[in-house]
Symmetry: C2
Subunit: 134 residues, 2 copies
DNA sequence: TCTTGTGTTAAACCGTACTTTAAGTCTTAC
DNA sequence: GTAAGACTTAAAGTACGGTTTAACACAAGA
């Protein structure tokens, strides 16, 4: 009946899939202002774990630690910053869409190279191809 | 009738969209072994420009400078390394596909957040939402 | 001739995101 | 009581991908 479990730093690290020292680093950088400290030790609540998941999501899309901190700071300021946070999410969505488009462009390049190698490799071995270029 | 233009380092930098110092760095790291030096100055051929484009493509998909150098080294060894290079391209394609899938996952997360903010912002201002979390 | 512009090098520096180290605290088990 | 194991801190170290700096070379134009 009690979902409100709490976690040690290494449990939290295991759940999120980062190292404990990374979590300490995030804390130092002000990204975990809600993590309580009981007798000097960090205690991660479910809400802290949820914050970490958001952090990982933003990080995965290329947002810097500093920008994530600013976003989290806004969140701590309450409803007055809702529009601002909404705008950040919309902007980050656009960034991700551009990243995906860019990767697709590069994937097409790789496909061309694949076809190139495939065609050379299929036309028998030892035809003399003047190598030396990429 | 002469396509075989040659370029100075700053022309090459302009064409590729990187800085001249980045090109010098690539050269230092062994990524531009074919760039000639005429009276101490680098001269970029069309083939060098083509190599730079491949370099940028691989870099854009997350391949490290070192791994790109290894790939280029293989290319300079000629046809004997065709299969190896083909394998590298296939592997890189998989890496890119995983990156795209990962970004799409994170995009879905951002979409959820967008909808969340949208719903709060639409249900009028000043309802008291207990902010403070991300 | 002298300045301007473009190139060169080696070596030092930079930002980002951590990781590692050293020294110490606290709890629990034996 | 003492050893182990998990936690703490500040500070230094690391990897990557460049950038910046300082000092110098060379060619063209006024």
């Amino acid at each position: 009946m009690n979902d409100k479990k709490e976690y040690t730093i290494s449990e939290a690290a295991g759940i999120i899939g980062v190292s404990a020292s990374a979590l300490r680093y995030y804390d130092r950088e002000g990204l975990l202002p809600n993590v309580r400290k009981v007798s000097g030790k960090r205690v991660f609540s479910e809400a802290d774990i949820a914050s970490l998941r958001v952090l990982e999501c933003l990080k995965a899309t290329g947002m810097s630690i500093r920008d994530i901190r600013e976003y989290f700071d806004l969140a701590r300021q309450g409803d007055a910053t809702l529009e601002e946070r909404y705008a950040i999410i919309l902007r980050q969505k656009e960034i991700v869409n551009r990243q995906i488009a860019f990767l697709n462009d590069n994937l097409r390049e790789l496909n061309r190279k694949e076809q190139y190698y495939k065609s050379i490799l299929s036309t028998a071995a030892g035809s003399g191809h003047e190598g030396g270029r990429n």
